[in-house]
């Protein structure tokens, strides 16, 4: 899956969680720039990604994410 496809998929998943059909993430997006992307929704987001792609994150990976680009790196590495 290409980075653009992944970005679209992640936007869709987070959009559903945040109830925002028009949510468009960029690689540079950080959680504090998106309304309602709080710690609870962050957990929802990560768990939803795990189940969507059938992957599991490791403890260090979860703690080291700064922006959406890094999340894409991580998912791509596991696919």
């Amino acid at each position: 899956m290409s980075r653009t496809e992944l970005l679209n998929k992640l936007s869709e998943i987070l959009g559903e969680i945040l109830e925002d059909d028009n949510l468009r993430l960029t690689e540079a997006t950080q959680a504090d720039q998106v309304p309602d992307w709080d710690s609870t929704n962050h957990v929802r987001f990560l768990v939803a990604i795990e189940s969507e792609f059938g992957i599991r994150f490791e403890t260090d990976e979860i703690g080291s994410l700064d922006n959406v680009g890094q999340l894409i790196d991580l998912v791509q590495k596991k696919l």
């Binding site: 998943i13 559903e16 969680i17 109830e19 609870t40 957990v43 929802r44 768990v47 939803a48 795990e50 189940s51 599991r56 994150f57 490791e58 403890t59 979860i62 703690g63």
Partner: protein, 641 residues
């Protein structure tokens, strides 16, 4: 994991437009309760569950009537991160007849909330409070080898008791306790069970005491330990999710945990199902009684399949012993369907176990309505166990309040699916329950019902059927011969031909042959019909229908109309101007006595009780709209008149 409770495999997949359907709920003032329950009765992801929860909240905020759902206000006292788990609760509760309203408290405020008379849970006028704690909160997450384990156990119970007493005293609210799953790590290994201070031994001891406490304080008990055990504790406990997010157990198990809680709330509100309706052929025995006969069906010890069906019957009987009413609904001739109940030595189920016995050729929905009416219970008290996916879909579409578990192909798993779905959840049990099923059996009376089409056309169209016609050929030969020799019920003349004779017809230019296959959106039903026509001895422009047979699986799907249309158009191509059909009664084919009459033939000979003959002039035949796509293999026109 083909059969794991975490997948909720007894629920059908949600419709493709699930999210769109959630979004319109509550937007106008209609009553949405029934729609909510039927939407909730699917295998939902966390996001779908969350979307459902928002739809329910929308209805509630505008004060809409949510019946037939019953309201329930549940408080949650949780020792770990519960927010994400709560996404699943409203849908799971609605699935079991409950409109859930949640009162949540901040993470790990269990004791503070319970002991403070002015806290949210103690002032919210709740119907119950779930005390969602685990072994960690009770300080049981490491072994007690240096201090006395009894002290650790009694300290844990005192802590829990303080919470229960606080909620009961200040909030005057019933409590739902839960047992503690045992973490998978062992300290000594198998020896853990024999050392009182290991986590395993202490959790065991505490669970025993929690069950006692539930009895003593009149609390409900959610057996989370039993759920974790069947899921597997290696999967249940996810250390990454615990250390990173403080999720109390793996997010993969949230759907089934919520469903188990939903069942309990439903049972508290009297919504547990009361009656199990059984299909017969390939559901409680292997094979088709009308075709295979009493000697031919598979039931009983000695074969894996026979034992698998026996386990379904045993489960049904166990349910009956605890008060669940049993009924039968089957597409069959009544006397034939009752045969095994009366005369098969290996059957566990007998006629006197069945409160209502509906064996006929009317659609399942009408039969289920008759069963509910006869027993004077709601349709929402019924569970239908049926191996046929098309029947299941028809009942779900026509009567969404009836619970219909999905079943896999392998009958060994039927009992598992029926019981894993938790339809008959109980929060109490008494000796009266045991007698209840008995009292419903009024000499297995058959309720009379009117045949009624329930949007039958829509239903048939929704099956997306494709019917395929071709002349006899080598590929189909074996199955054609098998159908000719095994089909007893839907068989107009019961003429048997050997495989060699069938092969002969493939090349006999004077014979018209048809093999019929049917597919629908649930799969390929394979070859389901055979027709053989021969030119009339005195009138070469007439066809005698020598053989017309069909598999009973496809009754009520307009397949016979499609077959006639095919015979008529192929006949017309060959300058045939009339068809002559015959009905030769046998011990088993009473169901097709009116076959030709129903297809518009005119009777030209015979009494109603003996052989009858029928005629259709092709000039008077008009093609009907059929609810299926027709694929016809070109049939050579070599045959002469």
């Amino acid at each position: 994991m083909p059969h794991s409770v975490i997948e909720l495999p007894w629920l059908p997949a949600p419709p493709a437009d699930f999210l769109a359907r959630c979004k319109v709920i509550g937007l106008d003032g209609s009553t949405w309760g029934a729609d909510l329950q039927s939407l909730a009765s699917h295998r939902l992801s966390s996001r779908q569950s969350a979307s459902f929860a928002r739809a329910l909240a929308r209805c509630r905020s505008t004060g809409l009537d949510l019946s037939p759902l019953s309201n329930f206000r549940l408080g949650i006292l949780a020792s770990a991160t519960f927010d994400f788990l709560l996404d699943y609760f409203p849908a799971a509760a609605a699935r079991h007849g409950v409109a859930l309203e949640l009162v949540t408290t901040p993470y790990d405020q269990v004791m503070q909330q319970a002991l403070d008379p002015a806290s949210a849970v103690n002032t919210a006028q709740l119907d119950a409070v779930l005390i969602a704690i685990d072994h960690r909160w009770l300080n049981l997450d490491c072994a007690s080898l240096t201090e006395a384990p009894e002290q650790r156990v009694s300290a844990a119970m005192q802590r829990l008791r303080a919470v229960v007493d606080g909620v009961k005293e200040h909030g005057r609210t019933p409590v739902i306790l839960q047992t503690l799953p045992t973490p998978p790590q062992m300290l000594f290994g198998s020896f853990d069970r024999r050392v009182a201070g290991t986590v395993r031994s202490m959790v065991n001891e505490v669970n025993r005491a929690i069950a006692e406490m539930a009895n003593e304080t009149g609390s409900y008990l959610l057996d989370t330990a039993a759920l974790a055990e069947r899921v597997g504790t290696d999967l249940w406990f996810d250390p990454v999710q615990w250390f990173s997010f403080k999720l109390p157990f793996s997010a993969e198990c949230y759907g089934i945990y919520a469903d188990m809680l939903g069942r309990m709330l439903g049972a508290i509100r009297g919504k547990a199902r009361k009656c199990l309706v059984l299909d017969l052929d390939n559901t409680i025995w292997g094979g088709v009684i009308g075709d295979d006969g009493i000697e031919g069906i598979q039931i009983g010890q000695g074969s894996a399949r026979g034992e698998a069906f026996l386990s379904v019957q045993r489960m049904a009987l166990e349910l009956r012993d605890r008060g669940v009413i049993l009924a039968v609904s089957s597409k069959n001739t009544d006397s034939v369907a009752r045969g095994p109940f009366k005369d098969h030595a290996d059957m566990l189920l007998r006629e006197n176990h069945i409160a209502v016995f509906q064996a006929n050729w009317i659609d399942k929905c009408s039969n289920l309505e008759a069963i509910a009416k006869t027993l004077n219970i709601g349709l929402d008290a019924l569970v239908l166990l049926d191996d046929n996916p098309a029947e299941r879909a028809q009942v779900r579409a026509g009567l969404p309040m009836v619970a219909v578990p999905e079943l896999p192909d392998d009958s060994s798993w039927f009992a598992w699916h029926l019981m894993a779905a938790g339809y008959f959840e109980a929060v109490s049990y008494s000796s009266e329950d045991r007698l209840r099923a008995e009292s419903y059996v009024s000499d297995a009376q058959r309720a009379n019902i009117m045949a009624k089409a329930r949007n039958l056309g829509d239903y048939l169209t929704s099956l997306e059927m494709v019917i395929k016609f071709s002349p006899f050929d080598v590929k189909g030969r074996q199955r054609i011969a098998q159908l000719i020799n095994k089909t007893n019920q839907f068989n107009l003349t019961t003429r048997r031909y050997t495989e060699a004779e069938v092969a002969g017809m493939e090349v006999d230019e004077s014979v018209f042959t048809l093999q019929v296959r049917l597919l629908d959106k649930f799969g390929d039903l394979g070859m389901i019909g055979v027709v053989i026509c021969r030119p009339h001895i005195d009138d070469p422009q007439a066809w005698n229908i020598d053989t017309w047979l069909m598999s009973c699986r496809v009754l009520g799907r307009s397949v016979e109309q499609a077959m006639l249309a095919q015979v008529a158009s192929e006949g017309a191509k060959r300058k045939v101007n009339r068809l002559i059909g015959h009905y030769l009664p046998s011990a088993k084919n009473a169901m097709v006595a009116d076959h030709y009459k129903q297809l518009g033939f005119r009777q030209i000979g015979g009494e109603s009780t003996s052989n009858t003959s029928w005629e259709l002039l092709l000039s008077e035949y008009s093609h009907l709209d059929l609810p299926m796509r027709i694929e016809s293999e070109p049939i050579s026109l070599r045959m002469v008149g």
